[in-house]
Every structure is written in structure tokens, then in C-alpha cells.
Symmetry: C2
Subunit: 135 residues, 2 copies
């Protein structure tokens, strides 16, 4: 399951998408409108900025805004930044791969199944973008 933090991230991004190219949006505006604890949200947006999904402007009239067109940011990217691995097993993760001990990947049925699941997940999560958040 996605963490609450990640769900907050999506709710915040939703708002930034709908105000794309209309100037920076205040953290406090997002927090109030989306009912997210202010300081917790700060932390989330910072993470998204560090990854390059968001940009920010300081001082009066500042705030956060999308670094690129919503349709250029896959949902998968957001999940990886805030939540971590998408795959169901470390040994089939593309970005967070870890070898599983006591299991020969060449002869592991579970491994094969989870490769399939991962591909099915990514087929959607890499194609859908922030633009799809707003319906």
C-alpha cells in the first residue's frame, strides 16, 4: 500500500497541476485546501523538489510550482521518490534492486511471477502522468 505521505503528495500535485503556469502556489494554500498538516507537507514538497519534479521561488509572491509539463511526469516517478520501490519483491525491482538470499533467481517461480506483476504495474504507472490526476 502507498503510504499516507505519498497520498498527500498526489493530492498536493493535483492542485499544482490545476494551477500549472499560473505562478507559484503557497504551501499554506495547499495545506489548507487539501487538509494536509502544514509542516508535514513542507517535507514532502521538499523531497519532490530535490528530485526535480517541483521548483520553488522564495520570498514574497513565492511558492511551489511544477518544473515541467504535467504530462511529462509519470505517476511511477512520484511513487519512487516518496514511497520507494513499486515492485513486490526487492529482487525484481528496477530502481531498488536487492538480491534475495536463499533464492536462486534462475529457478524461483515466485521471482518469475513477480517480474510479470511488476511489468503489468509499470505499463500503467509509467504511462499515466500527473495530467491524469485531474479529471
Amino acid at each position: 500500500m502507498l503510504s499516507k505521505k505519498t497520498q498527500y503528495a498526489f493530492r498536493a500535485l493535483e492542485m499544482l497541476v490545476s494551477r500549472y503556469e499560473q505562478g507559484p502556489v503557497l504551501i499554506s494554500d495547499i495545506a489548507r485546501k487539501k487538509k494536509i498538516p502544514l509542516k508535514f507537507l513542507e517535507n514532502i514538497l521538499l523531497q519532490l523538489k530535490k528530485d526535480g519534479i517541483l521548483e520553488s521561488k522564495k520570498g514574497k509572491g513565492g511558492g511551489y510550482f511544477l518544473a515541467q509539463k504535467p504530462s511529462r511526469v509519470p505517476v511511477a516517478r512520484v511513487i519512487r521518490v516518496v514511497d520507494g520501490p513499486i515492485a513486490m519483491l526487492p529482487c525484481v525491482s528496477l530502481y531498488f534492486y536487492q538480491k534475495c538470499k536463499n533464492c536462486d533467481e534462475k529457478h524461483c517461480g515466485l521471482h518469475d511471477i513477480m517480474i510479470g506483476v511488476r511489468d503489468a504495474q509499470l505499463a500503467i504507472l509509467e504511462k499515466k502522468t500527473l495530467a491524469d490526476l485531474v479529471v
Copy 2:
């Protein structure tokens, strides 16, 4: 990500599949061969039994064994018993549904995306069975 517990469960089941209809298998045998902490494994097998995936026989010559043909037990079932929800959001889970507050499911882009992901996951996890664990 699946918990270590769930991965243990699959490793244990793998062994029970390969010895299907060859009599009960000792917990201690599974623990030793699959390198799973004995008492922890006990707990896992008990859970699987309670759900009806396994049966057991007490006393000398006892042990655990599959309650039905491996090909009749979907991988999804094991995950739900040991790990819980498969879906990425509570509001799209079939077996563990929970309404998400502050989000109208009728007009939530993320909701729609995650419905798609869930279906893609289940298409595989409901079709693949314990029989597929052993290659």
C-alpha cells in the same frame, strides 16, 4: 513490498508443493531446509492453516500438508492471508476496502489509475497458483 513473513510463507509452501500427497511434512524440516526461524515459521503455517490453505496432523508422523491441489490455490490468496491488501490504495481494494476521506472517488484521477493497476496485478496473481512456484 511483500513482507519478509510473506516471502517465508511462499518458501515454505514451495516445499509443501513439491511434497504434495507424500504425507505430512515437519515444521522443523521446513525450517531447517528453507532457513526460516522455527518459531516464526510456526506462526506463519498456523495462519495458513486457519485460512484453509494448509491442514495438519498431530502426534508422531504428523506435520503440515496442503489442503488442496496446488493448482487450486491462487498466489493472491496467500498474499491476502499473510500480508493483507494487494491494491496500492485502500479505496480500490476488493477485500480490504476503506473509503478515503477528502477524496471523492467519482472525481479522483488517482483512484481511476489505481483501479487499473489493481486489475492488472490481479489478472496475474489470481491466475498464477502454488503450482507455479515450483519450476
